[in-house]
Symmetry: C2
Subunit: 856 residues, 2 copies
C-alpha cells in the first residue's frame, strides 16, 4: 500500500489543457491589468507563483481548559502543515509564505516550480508536448467540409468565443516528453504557467491526500484574469459537449416547429374533431363523476378535440422516428468530436489511469486493521464485500425508499386531483363548477413542480450521503457512483408524474356500471375526450419550463451570488473599506472570496434531464427541442460567466471523454425509443384511427370514427347510488349513454365484455410497437455503422504525424539535425510562436529515405 502511494504521481490524472479566453474579458483597462498582476510573482518579482495553498487559524476563545485543548489541536495542525511543506521543498519546489495577509486568520503559501522539476515530472507523467516542428494540416476541399464550415460560421454566436492562438492550418508535432529530447520542445510553451501549475498541482494533490484533510483547509488556484483562462480538458469537454448538443438542437427544433405548424394547419381538415364539433352529432355521453355529474354532449369537448390534433397527428409519428435517429446521430457526432478534440489536445496516447485511493477509504481500511490487529497479524489492505455489506444494504433500502416516496407523492397528487374535483363538483356555485377543470389542473401541476424541485435537492443530498457511506476506493468510482444514484433518483422524480399520465391515467377507470374506486369512494381519473396526449403535453411543458427557469437559471446564478455575499459580509470584521480592500488585496486574496468549484455533475445532470425531456416523450410535445434550445443558448453563457467570475478557478483535470455521462445518454436514448413507441401506439389515437380507416371504415375515410370508438351503456345498469341525480338534464330521459372504450353493447350475448375491435386494435398497437422499436434500433445501428468513430482527416493526420516524428528523429540521429540547428541559432522562443515554414523546406534526405525513393 505504501509503495502505491509513494509513486502515485505516475498514476494521477495527468493534466493538460486548452485555452479558453472569453472575449468579454478582453476589455481590461491598463490599470485593472496591473492590479490583477499583483501577487502573481514571488517577492523577488522573478519567480512566478504557480499554485497557492491556504489555511485558516482560528482564534482561541472560551474557558481556559477548552482553550488549552484548542491550542494543542492548533499546534498539531501547524506541525503537520510544516511536515507537508517540508515534503514539498524536498521535491524541489520553492515556497514562500505570506504571513501578513490582509484577511485576518487566513494565511497563504505560494509555490513556484523550477524548470528542472517541471522537466522531471513531465517525463515521469509521460506528458505529450508540442515540439518546435510544425506541419501543415491540409484542409479537405470536399463539399461536406464546406457545408460544415458554413454551418459553424452561422452558429458562431452560440459558442463562447475562444481565441485561437495559432493559425488553424498548422499544428505542432507533439511527442511524449523526455529529458534527452528536451531541445525539441518549445520551452516557451512548456514554461507558460499552465503546465507548471498543473505539475505542481498534481504534486500537491498527491501529498494532500496522504495527509489528513483537516490540516489544509482548501487548495485553490490563482486566477490570472489577464492571461488566458485554462479550465482543463474535463471542463473543456463539457463545453464542447454542450456546444454540440445545442447545435444539434437547432435542426430538431426546426423540425419540431414544422411538425407543430403542420398540426395547426390541418386542424380544420381533421374529420374526427369535425365530427365531434358538429352540432348535429348529438352524442350523449355517460357522466364523468358519480351522482353530482350529469350526462353531457360530446360536442362540448370540441375545443379539447381540436387542441389534441395539434399534438396527435401523423406528423408526430414521423417526428418521433426523426428524434430517435437524431439522438443516435448526436451520440455518433459526439464520439467524432471527442476524437477530434483528443487529437487536437494531444491526448491520443493518454490512458485513463487508476486513481489514487481516497483518504476516506484509507481511513476506513486503517480503522478495520486496528480493529482486527488483536486477532491476526496480517496487514489489511482492502475492504471486502462483507465490510461493505451494511453500506450496500443501506444503499438499496434507501434508494427503494426514495423511489417509493416519489411514487407516493405522485399518488398523493392524484388523490388531491380526484378529491378536489369531487369536492368542487359538489359546490353549489356555478362559476366554481365551470372553473373546476382549470383550477384543479393548474394547482396540481404547480404542486407537482414544487415537489419535484424540493425533492431534487433532497435527493442530491441523499445520494451524496449514500455514496460517502459506501466509501468507494477512488475519486473516479466515487464520482461515478454518486452520479449514478443521483441520476436514478432525479430521473424518477422528474418523470414519474409524466409516465403516470402517459400510460396509466384513463386506463384504470373501469366502465360505467363498474367503475374503479380508490378508497371505495373516489373514481379514478379519466382523460378528456381526445386522448391523454393533450394532458401529457401540458404536464410536460410545465415541468420542463418550470425546472429550467427556476432550477437552472434562478438557483444556479442566485445561490453563488448569495454565498459570495455572505462570505464577504462575514469577513468584513476587519476595519478597511470595500474600495480600499479591492485595491490592496492580491489576486489570490480576492479569489479567496469566490465560491469553490463543485464539480461538473450538476451541470451535466441538468442537461441530461433536459435531454430526457427532449427525447423521451417527444411524440407528445414536438416543441420540447425548441424550449431546450432557447434554454441552452442562455445556459451556455451563464455557465461560462459563472466559471469565469463566480467560482474559483477549477482544478484542471485531464480527461479523454465525458465518462459515465455518455453511458447515461445512451441509456436515455435507448429508453426513448421504446417510450415513444408506446406513447404513439397507446397514448395517442393514431393506431385506432389507422385500424378504423383500413379495417372498419365503409368508404376508407375517417367518417364515423368517433362513433366507432364509443361503446354504449344502458343507464338502467348503473349501480345503486351511482346514477346521476339529474337524469333528465337535457329535458328528456336518457336511455343509452356512450363512453370511450371498445366493449360489447348491452344487447349482445356478452354485454360490456371487451369486443373483437378491442383485441384487433390492441394487436395492431403491439405490432406497431415491435415494428417501431426494431426499425428505429436498426436505423440507429446503421447510423452507428455508417459514421466512422474517428473522422477520416484525423486518422490521416495521426498517421502523418507519426511519420514526421520518425523522420525528425532519424535526421537528428544522423547528425543532420537541420531543424534543430536553425532553431538554436535564432532565439528559439521565437521559433515556437512564429510558424516559419522554412522548416518545411526539403531537408537533406536520409540514406533510408533516398534508398526507398530510388525504387520508385
Amino acid at each position: 500500500l505504501r509503495q502505491n502511494q509513494d509513486y502515485s504521481l505516475l498514476s494521477l490524472l495527468h493534466v493538460w489543457f486548452k485555452s479558453a479566453y472569453f472575449q468579454r474579458l478582453k476589455a481590461l483597462t491598463p490599470e485593472e491589468n496591473t492590479r490583477s498582476q499583483h501577487g502573481l510573482f514571488f517577492q523577488d518579482g522573478q519567480r512566478r507563483v504557480d499554485y497557492v495553498l491556504t489555511y485558516s487559524v482560528k482564534k482561541s476563545s472560551g474557558s481556559h481548559s477548552t482553550r488549552e485543548i484548542f491550542n494543542s489541536q492548533e499546534d498539531q495542525k501547524a506541525f503537520r502543515r510544516e511536515e507537508f511543506e517540508g515534503k514539498l521543498r524536498d521535491m524541489g519546489l520553492e515556497l514562500e509564505k505570506d504571513e501578513d495577509g490582509k484577511i485576518p486568520g487566513v494565511y497563504f503559501v505560494k509555490i513556484h516550480a523550477p524548470w528542472n522539476v517541471l522537466c522531471r515530472e513531465a517525463e515521469f507523467m509521460k506528458l505529450k508536448m508540442p515540439t518546435k516542428k510544425v506541419y501543415e494540416v491540409k484542409q479537405s476541399n470536399s463539399i461536406v467540409e464546406k457545408i460544415s464550415t458554413l454551418i459553424s460560421k452561422i452558429l458562431e454566436p452560440l459558442h463562447p468565443h475562444v481565441e485561437e492562438h495559432q493559425p488553424k492550418n498548422v499544428k505542432h508535432l507533439s511527442h511524449t516528453f523526455s529529458r534527452e529530447k528536451q531541445h525539441l520542445v518549445c520551452r516557451k510553451q512548456f514554461t507558460s504557467s499552465f503546465v507548471s501549475v498543473q505539475i505542481v498541482v498534481n504534486k500537491g494533490k498527491t501529498i494532500y491526500t496522504t495527509v489528513s484533510i483537516c490540516v489544509i483547509k482548501m487548495i485553490f488556484y490563482l486566477f490570472p484574469r489577464v492571461f488566458r483562462k485554462y479550465f482543463g480538458e474535463k471542463i473543456g469537454l463539457y463545453f464542447a459537449w454542450l456546444g454540440l448538443y445545442t447545435q444539434m438542437l437547432i435542426p430538431a427544433s426546426l423540425v419540431g416547429v414544422i411538425v407543430f405548424l403542420y398540426g395547426c394547419a390541418t386542424v380544420d381538415d381533421n374529420i374526427p374533431s369535425m365530427e365531434i364539433c358538429h352540432p348535429r352529432n348529438n352524442i350523449t355521453m355517460c357522466p364523468l363523476c358519480d351522482r353530482v355529474c350529469s350526462y353531457w354532449k360530446l360536442s362540448t369537448a370540441c375545443g379539447t378535440a381540436r387542441a389534441s390534433h395539434l399534438f396527435d397527428n401523423p406528423a408526430t409519428v414521423f417526428f418521433s422516428i426523426f428524434m430517435a435517429l437524431w439522438a443516435a446521430m448526436f451520440m455518433e457526432h459526439w464520439k467524432r468530436r471527442q476524437m477530434r478534440l483528443n487529437y487536437e489536445w494531444d491526448l491520443t496516447g493518454f490512458e485513463d489511469e487508476e486513481d489514487h485511493p481516497r483518504a476516506e477509504y484509507e481511513f476506513k481500511v486503517m480503522q478495520k486493521s486496528l480493529r482486527k490487529r488483536q486477532k491476526s497479524q496480517d496487514k489489511i489492505e482492502k475492504l471486502t464485500f462483507q465490510d461493505r455489506l451494511p453500506a450496500y444494504m443501506t444503499n438499496i433500502v434507501m434508494m427503494l425508499l426514495m423511489i417509493g416516496v416519489t411514487f407516493a407523492i405522485v399518488f398523493g397528487v392524484i388523490l388531491y386531483r380526484i378529491s378536489t374535483k369531487a369536492a368542487l363538483h359538489m359546490s353549489s356555485s356555478l362559476i366554481t363548477r365551470n372553473h373546476v377543470q382549470l383550477t384543479v389542473k393548474t394547482t396540481a401541476a404547480i404542486i407537482n413542480l414544487v415537489v419535484i424541485l424540493i425533492l431534487d435537492e433532497v435527493y442530491g443530498a441523499v445520494a451524496r450521503w449514500l455514496t460517502v457511506l459506501e466509501a468507494p476506493k477512488t475519486d473516479k468510482s466515487f464520482e461515478e457512483r454518486l452520479i449514478f444514484k443521483t441520476f436514478i433518483l432525479k430521473f424518477v422524480n422528474a418523470f414519474a408524474p409524466i409516465i403516470y399520465i402517459a400510460f396509466f391515467r384513463g386506463r384504470l377507470v373501469g366502465r360505467p356500471g363498474s367503475y374503479l374506486y380508490v378508497f371505495d369512494s373516489y373514481r379514478m381519473e379519466e382523460c378528456a375526450h381526445g386522448g391523454c396526449l393533450m394532458e401529457l403535453c401540458i404536464q410536460l411543458s410545465i415541468t420542463m419550463l418550470g425546472k429550467q427557469l427556476i432550477q437552472n437559471n434562478l438557483f444556479e446564478i442566485g445561490i453563488p451570488k448569495l454565498k459570495k455575499l455572505i462570505r464577504y459580509i462575514r469577513s468584513k470584521q476587519g476595519a478597511f473599506q470595500e474600495e480600499e480592500r479591492q485595491k490592496k488585496l492580491t489576486r489570490y486574496e480576492t479569489d479567496h472570496f469566490l465560491e469553490p468549484f463543485g464539480g461538473l455533475t450538476p451541470e451535466y445532470m441538468e442537461m441530461i434531464i433536459q435531454f430526457g425531456f427532449v427525447t423521451l416523450f417527444v411524440a407528445s410535445f414536438p416543441l420540447a427541442p425548441l424550449f431546450a434550445l432557447l434554454n441552452n443558448i442562455i445556459e451556455i453563457r451563464l455557465d461560462a460567466k459563472k466559471f469565469v467570475t463566480e467560482l474559483r478557478r477549477p482544478v484542471a483535470a485531464r480527461a479523454k471523454d465525458i465518462g459515465i455521462w455518455y453511458n447515461i445518454l445512451r441509456g436515455v436514448a435507448k429508453v426513448a425509443v421504446i417510450i415513444n413507441a408506446f406513447v404513439i401506439s397507446f397514448t395517442s389515437d393514431f393506431i385506432p384511427r389507422m385500424v378504423y380507416q383500413y379495417m372498419y371504415s365503409p368508404d376508407g375515410s375517417m367518417h364515423g370514427f368517433v362513433n366507432h370508438t364509443l361503446s354504449s351503456f344502458n343507464v338502467s345498469h348503473f349501480q345503486d347510488g351511482k346514477e346521476p341525480m339529474d337524469p333528465s338534464h337535457f329535458g328528456y330521459p336518457v336511455v343509452i349513454c356512450r363512453y370511450k372504450d371498445y366493449r360489447e353493447p348491452p344487447w349482445s350475448n356478452t354485454p360490456y365484455e371487451l369486443s373483437k375491435e378491442f383485441w384487433a386494435v390492441l394487436a395492431v398497437r403491439l405490432a406497431f410497437v415491435i415494428v417501431f422499436q426494431n426499425v428505429v434500433m436498426l436505423m440507429n445501428d446503421i447510423v452507428d455503422w455508417l459514421i466512422p468513430d474517428i473522422p477520416k482527416d484525423i486518422s490521416l493526420q495521426i498517421h502523418k504525424e507519426k511519420i514526421l516524428l520518425v523522420e525528425l528523429f532519424m535526421k537528428e540521429e544522423q547528425g543532420k539535425s537541420y531543424i534543430i540547428d536553425s532553431s538554436t541559432s535564432t532565439d528559439g522562443k521565437e521559433n515556437c510562436s512564429k510558424h516559419n515554414n522554412n522548416s518545411k523546406v526539403a531537408p537533406p534526405r536520409s540514406r533510408r529515405h533516398t534508398n526507398s525513393t530510388k525504387s520508385f
Copy 2:
C-alpha cells in the same frame, strides 16, 4: 505518396507472438531433431536464417522467337530481383543465396538480421520488450478464482496444450524498447528467432509491396519444428476465442440436454397430445390436399403431437432466455479474455495503425493518373467516390442478385416439395402414398443441404471477386469488406430455408374453401398438426450437422491433403526417390511443398455460422449447443494439426482484437433475441396454450385446448372441383370438418372471418415479443454493466507494472542500479531464464521513495 511508402515501416502491423508448442510434436527422435535443424543456419553455421524468400525460374521452351521474348522477360525479372536484394542489403540485412537447391527451377534466398538492425527496427516500431526485471503476480484467493481454476483444470483436455515457458506467478516487466535502455532488455529473448524473423518480415513485406508482385513468387517462413511454434497474435487470438467459445458451450449444452430431457419426461403428462391421441376424441379433419386427399382423423397425428412436445414446452422459453443471456455473457467474457491476453502479450500500448496501401490500389491510382495526365498537371493521389461508383453499383446489384438466387432456390425447393407431394398422392400404390411424407421431407432436406454447400463455395468466390473490383485501399479494409460480404451471403444462404419454415410455412395456407394456390394449381404447404416447430427442428439439425460434417471436416482436411499431393506429384519430375529426398532436403525445401496459409476468414466464418445455429433458433432445437460442442472439440484439434503440419508457417500478424468478427457476433446475438421471441410466440404453441389456460379454459386446465384451436368448416362450402373425391371415406358422410385456425364457425353472422380469439391470441403473442425482447435486452445490458471489461487483477497489475517501471528508471538514474549490476556480474542470459527472486529483495530506497514513506 512516396514519403508515405518510405516510412511505411512504422505503419506496418507490428509483429509479436506467443509460443504455441503442441505436445504431440514433442516426441521427436534425436535423429529427426538434427534433420529438422538442417538448413536453419547460414553456411558458416553461426548466423541463423531468419527468413527465406523463394522464386522460380521457368525453363524456356518452344520456338526461337517465343524463347527470346521469354528470356527477356526472365532477364527483367532477374534485374528486379537483384534490385530488391540490394535494397535488403542496404537496410543492413545479410543475404545468402542457395543456388544449388534440390528442387529444379526453385531458388531460395536466406536472410539473416544482425543485432544492430534488430535494435534499430525495434526502436522505430516501438515494440514493447520484456526487461530482465521480473515481478510476482499475486494470485487472488477469492472463491471465484478457485472455481475458475478448477473449471479450467477440468476443461484442460479441450485446449491444445501450450507449454508454459515461465512460472505462472512471475512476469517480466516490459517497456517500449529504446536503444538507450538496451541493457535492461533480455538479450536472449530478443535474439530468439521469433522477434528477428518478424522484424525482417516487416522489412521484406514493405519492399515486397513496392516492387511488382510477379518477381518474387512467394514469401514463406522457415518452419522450425524443433523450436517453439509461433503463429502470431492474430492466430493466437483465434485459438483463444475458439477455446473460450467451446468452454462456454459446455454449460449451454448441459442446460440444453436438461431441457430436452424435461421434454422427454413430461411427454406423457401433456394434456393436448393426450387429447389428440385419445381414440374417443374422434375429430374429423379437413383434407390436406384437393380432390385426391380425403378427410382424416386427428388421432392419426398422435405421433407428431407427442414428438412436438419434446421441443415445444415451457422449458424451451426458459432455454431461449438462457441462451440470449449466454450469448451476452460470452461476449463479455471474450472482452475480458482479450484484455487479459493483451496484457500478457504486452500489447497494452499497441495501437492498430493505418495499413500500407495495397499494390492493387496503387496500380489503379497510377492508371487513373496516367489517364488524366493529358488534362491536368495535378498528381492524383486517391480514388474518389466517382471512380468507385461502377464498382459499388456492381457490388450492390450482384449482392441483391445473389440474395435473390438464394430466395429463388428456397422457393424452388418449396415447389419441389408441393409438386412431388401432389404427384405422389395421386400415385395408385398404397405403399408410395404411405411413405409420401418421409420421402418428400428427406429428399427436400438433402437438396437444401447440397444447394447450401455448393452456393457457399460460389458465394465465397463471388464475394472475393466483388471485393477485388472495389479495390479497397488497405489490406485491413480489404479483409473487412470481404468478410462482410461473405458473411451476408453465407448467412442468408444458410438461414433462408430455416426462416421460411419458422415464420412463413403454414401461415400462407388460406382456409378450407378458399385455399391459397401457387401457379393456380398447387396448394401451399401446411405444417403437420402440432405446429411447425417440429419441422423447423428437423431442418435445423440436418443443415447444421451436414454443414459441420461435410464442410468443416471433410473439406478442411481433405482439400489441403489433396493439394499437397498434387504439388508433390508435379515436382516429382526430378530423379531422386521419396525417402532420399525427405532426408536430403533442407527444412525450407520441405516446407515448400506445403500449402500457403490462406487467412483465418474461413475458420471464423464457419464458427460464426455455427454460433448462428446455436443462438438464432435455439428455441426450437435445444440440442444445438451440444452438437456444436462435439464439433468444436474435434475442430480445435483439426485446426491445430492443420496449422502445424499442413500449412506453411503463417505470417505472424499483430492484433489486439478479433476485429470485425466481434461486431458480427454482436449482431448475430442481437438478431437472435428477436428471432427467438418470434419463434416462441409464433412458431410454437406456447402462447395459444397460455391464452386458453388463463382466458378460456372453464376449469383453468388444458383440457379442451385441442378443440378450442380447431375451427369448423361446412363441407358444402368447398369450391367446385376441390372437394374430396371420396367424401364417405369413414363410412359416413362428413358434414363438418375441422381445421387449425381461429375463425368464426359457418353458422355465425360472419362465417369464416377471423374470430375474437384470433385477435386476442395475436395480441398476447405480440405482447410476449415486446416483453421478451425488452426483458432480454435489459438483462443483457445489466450483464454488460455488471461484468467489468478489464479484469480487476489485470488492471491492478498494469498499475503495479507502471510503478515498478518508474522505480526501475529512478534507481538507474540515481546510479543505484542494483538490479543491473547484479545481473551483469553473472551471465546475464541466465538472469533472463532463471527467475531469481533476489531482484525482489528490497533495494536501497530512493530519496523520493523514503520521503513519501515517512508521511505514513
